[in-house]
């Protein structure tokens, strides 16, 4: 392969099948990366993007059992016959979970680990370490233990580690999937500086396009089967073929989604905007279609968008019913220091509440205290009038269901069926009743076929559904979820949130802790902002997200739509924060969220 084009990376007709899988994903990926170029790799969930990323430095087929067809060539070397160690000097990798990339005890040792493996002389190791750490802004903290960095900081460290390998190509697979808004901002700042320096090519797999698109030169799109269907500039692919990409389930920037929607409703938006600023500029430059109403969309919602009824719903709930959850003067100590300070909170039946805040603010602690996972002080938390601190565990699971971040943590049976039946059997129901209810639950969560298999063998999305099912099966009227979308792709996150919305509409009270602001604005009626163990704000979601100063002071950020519509000159669009509030075309082909 000594062609004239100086491609750094060439992927030709690559198909990869994991051992044990029946089909290859990707099936046939083809693209090239030139030195210094930033390529964004898009595709629906399961298309094989992560798998492909692992093939770019030879981890597939060398370290992971899988069958690969086609060829990957890195700087002229065929990855199938070149050892990973040798390829590592050409391709640096950054993975999703920052914790799983740490080996040593200080930042400096961590960055030095790669160059040391290459047997570089000590001075060279130290020089590379310094350059890499300075580039991601962590040089001053080089003697610290990586544990003390925030999630964003640890991911920047992972980028520094890849840089220190000296490789001209960097591959990042969803590097911000697990981070809070501030962490995401930090990582993209570091990447932006890297791109500005222009000496490294980047292949980026990312669901969060709002952050990624700004640094991208070229976009490669895989379809469901993992075949390359588009390869070109951002303008040629994302702007020109947005509807097509949207159709096959590729995630687009939220601003683009919003524009697509407005366009379908008659707004004249051409070219399509890719970020909030462009959307706002485009809107400011255009006139509303004749059919647009004069009142804000978020108020004149139609009956098909019940989620935007938060104001009405919260108010009605407050007026008509007794409070379902009452938290009074809750202070909680853990590990010798007070983590929650004098928290008061009232929740009514049927509310959908999001709890947000920076890392370490106390969100998990609050949710766990409400659900009795950690016992709160007596008298401080009441659910349906019963003091949680005095409720025995059997009754507790009938009052409130708790869904942990990692579903595997809470599975206790050997089959999916027993997993669901467990909660019913504990209530001493007879076998027939258990069977009927369990089967109803299996059907509701689409798990009938999986009844007999081990819960650990389900796919990620199925595991999540099962964990929600187990929390609900005992009939709990309240469901508490801790970062249920953590580590999941947008499609699965979306599927789960739709499920929660259905439950909420059927009357279940939902409390959810999350870092995903767009999800919060799309789904929650009410939002509680936690900062340093106190409630900083507690209001309807729209009111919370209208207050930019509040969000910033809590370490949060506006979701992209909020930024676009904050001061737009059209009154009917002003203050819109969610896609659901935008006008709909006559045929809403698919729900966008």
């Amino acid at each position: 392969m000594t062609s004239a084009t100086a491609a750094l990376l060439r992927v030709e007709d690559v198909g990869i099948r994991h051992d044990g899988a029946t089909i290859a994903a990707p099936a046939s990926a083809t693209f090239e990366v030139a030195p210094g170029e930033v390529v964004l790799l898009l595709g629906p969930s399961g298309a094989g993007k992560s798998t492909l990323a692992l093939a770019l430095n030879g981890l597939i087929p060398h370290a992971i059992p899988a069958t690969m067809t086609g060829t990957v060539t890195v700087a002229g070397q065929n990855t199938a016959v070149t050892p990973v160690a040798q390829l590592s000097t050409q391709v640096g990798m950054v993975f999703q979970d920052p914790d799983a990339q740490l080996v040593t005890g200080t930042l400096q040792d961590e960055v030095a680990f790669g160059p040391e493996n290459l047997r570089l002389p000590v001075e060279e190791v130290l020089a590379r370490t310094e350059v890499a750490l300075r580039r991601v802004g962590l040089w001053d903290r080089r003697h610290e233990n990586p544990d003390r960095l925030s999630g964003g900081g640890r991911q920047r460290l992972a980028i520094a580690c890849a840089l220190a390998m000296g490789s001209p190509l960097l591959v990042l697979d969803e590097p911000t999937a697990n981070l809070d808004p501030q962490g995401i901002e930090e990582v993209y700042q570091a990447l932006g500086e890297l791109v500005a320096a222009g000496d490294r090519a980047i292949v980026l797999v990312e669901h969060n396009l709002d952050a990624a698109i700004a640094i991208t030169d070229r976009v490669v799109v895989l379809d469901h089967a993992g075949r390359t269907i588009a390869d070109g500039t951002v303008d040629a692919v994302v702007r020109a073929r947005a509807e097509e990409l949207h159709g096959i389930g590729v995630w687009l920037p939220v601003a683009t989604l919003a524009a697509l929607r407005l366009r379908a409703a008659g707004w004249d938006l051409d070219p399509l905007p890719l970020d909030p600023a462009e959307l706002r500029a485009a809107l400011d430059a255009t006139e509303p279609p004749a059919s647009a109403p004069a009142v804000p969309y978020s108020v004149s919602r139609d009956a098909r968008a019940p989620i935007s009824a938060d104001l009405a719903r919260s108010a009605a709930a407050r007026l008509n019913t007794e409070p379902q959850i009452e938290v009074r003067g809750l202070s909680l100590r853990r590990g010798g220091s007070e983590i929650l300070h004098d928290v008061d909170l009232t929740v009514h039946a049927g509310e959908f509440i999001a709890i947000v805040g920076a890392n370490g603010a106390g969100k998990t602690t609050l949710l766990q205290a409400i659900a009795g996972v950690i016992p709160p002080p007596r008298g401080s938390v009441r659910v349906n009038g019963a003091d949680i601190a005095r409720t025995d565990l059997r009754t507790l699971s009938r009052q409130i269901g708790f869904v942990f971040q990692n579903p595997e943590h809470q599975f206790i049976a050997h089959t999916v069926y027993d997993e669901l039946a467990h909660g019913l059997r504990r209530q001493k129901l007879d076998d027939a009743a258990v069977r009927v209810q369990t089967e109803r639950m299996l059907e509701r969560f689409g798990l009938q076929e999986k009844a007999g298999i081990h819960p650990f063998l389900l796919s990620g999305g199925q595991k999540r559904r099962l964990s929600v099912g187990t929390a609900l099966v005992a009939g709990a009227p309240v469901l508490a979820l801790d970062e249920p979308t953590f580590g999941q792709d947008r499609a699965r996150a979306d599927e789960l949130m739709h499920l929660l919305r259905e439950l909420s509409e059927a009357g279940t009270t939902i409390l959810v802790v999350t870092h995903d602001m767009q999800l919060v604005t799309e789904y929650a009626h009410r939002t509680i902002v936690i900062g340093d163990g106190r409630i900083m704000a507690d209001d309807t979601t729209s009111a919370i997200f209208a207050d930019d100063a509040l969000l910033r002071s809590a370490g949060l950020r506006q979701p992209p739509l909020g930024r676009a519509f904050a001061h737009v000159r059209h009154p009917e669009l002003s203050g819109v924060t969610r896609l659901g509030d935008l006008p709909r075309a006559a045929d809403p082909r698919r729900t966008v969220a």
Binding site: L54, N57, L59, H62, A63, I64, V84, A85, Q86, S88, T89, G92, M93, F95, D97, D99, A100, Q101, L102, V103, T104, G105, T106, A112, F113, G114, E116, N117, L118, R119, L120, P121, V122, V125, H143, E144, N145, D147, A158, A162, M165, A371, G372, V373, I374, L393, R394, S397, F402, F404, N406, E408, H409, Q410, F411, I412, H422, G423, F456, T470
Partner: protein, 270 residues
């Protein structure tokens, strides 16, 4: 560097005390013959002398922290006495000197010989432990691993796997805590008593190990991607050398051990 609780990564505090400057392997090897031979002693004097020797070496050669002082001055002596008394209770009267009765309760008598045998065992165990503490109290995990790689020629891939595994400990501990909480609220194996507790712990094992193995696989990928194992050796920035003083320490310690054993000769030949 950090005031955190247990961080196996903190490099040894700079200390002028000589034990901190020795190679970990020297500190392990020096008391080894004495420990092995103590196994076969039966008297009380020899282990006492070795106990004293170990204490002198540790107290003179290590930076004594309060935790260490507690271990050496309270925990170890108390444990020795408790174990000694326990052994005394279990000895068979027909195998010991029964000329002195220390205590008589009903038909049962505690003989002086039993106490003597018990105490000998207690002190012997304490001496073996104290000798092991010479290395234990003055060596950090990473240094031990590095010296096994640098002197014992343990493949560095194994050594560095161990270093990476230090990071697993807090993570798995945290995971276990979360699993326990999750199982508690699900009401898995409620109830009291040792059997319910066993059933509960059994339930934690699969989620814990499954998560652990998956995490390990991800870490392995990240290490491979950074050329781990590329060459038969790698650049070492932290050297744990074997110096003349290490040899001297081992030789002197062995000589002293031999001297003590020769002088007190705790075995009856024939």
């Amino acid at each position: 560097m950090s005031a955190a609780t247990i961080d196996p990564w903190v490099t040894a505090p700079l200390s002028r005390k000589f034990l901190h400057g020795l190679n970990p392997l020297a500190k392990l090897a020096a008391p080894l013959p004495a420990m092995a031979l103590l196994v076969f002693t039966r008297d009380i004097t020899t282990p006492l002398v070795f106990l004293a020797l170990a204490y002198i070496v540790v107290l003179a050669g290590a930076r004594v922290t309060s935790r260490m002082a507690l271990l050496l001055l309270v925990a170890l002596p108390v444990a020795a006495v408790v174990v000694g008394l326990g052994m005394a209770l279990w000895t068979d009267a027909s195998r010991i000197d029964t000329s002195v009765a220390v205590l008589t309760i009903g038909g049962w008598t505690l003989f002086g010989g039993a106490v003597e045998v018990g105490m000998a065992t207690g002190v012997r165990l304490a001496a073996i432990v104290a000798l092991a503490l010479i290395a234990g109290l003055t060596t950090t995990g990473p240094d031990l691993v590095r010296s096994t790689v640098q002197q014992l020629r343990v493949p560095y891939r194994i050594g560095y796997t161990a270093l990476a595994a230090f990071r697993f400990v807090p993570r798995f501990g945290y995971e276990l805590e979360v699993i326990r909480q999750a199982h508690r609220v699900r009401g898995a194996h409620g109830g009291r008593g040792p059997f319910a507790a066993l059933a509960r712990w059994w339930g934690y094992i699969v989620p814990l190990l499954a998560g652990a193995i998956r995490h390990a696989e991800r870490v392995a990928l990240a290490m491979d991607a950074r050329a781990f194992g590329a060459h038969p050796d790698r650049t070492e920035r932290y050297l744990v050398p074997w110096r003349g003083r290490d040899t001297a320490f081992v030789v002197v310690f062995w000589a002293v051990s031999a001297g003590i054993l020769w002088y007190f000769f705790p075995w009856t030949l024939g």
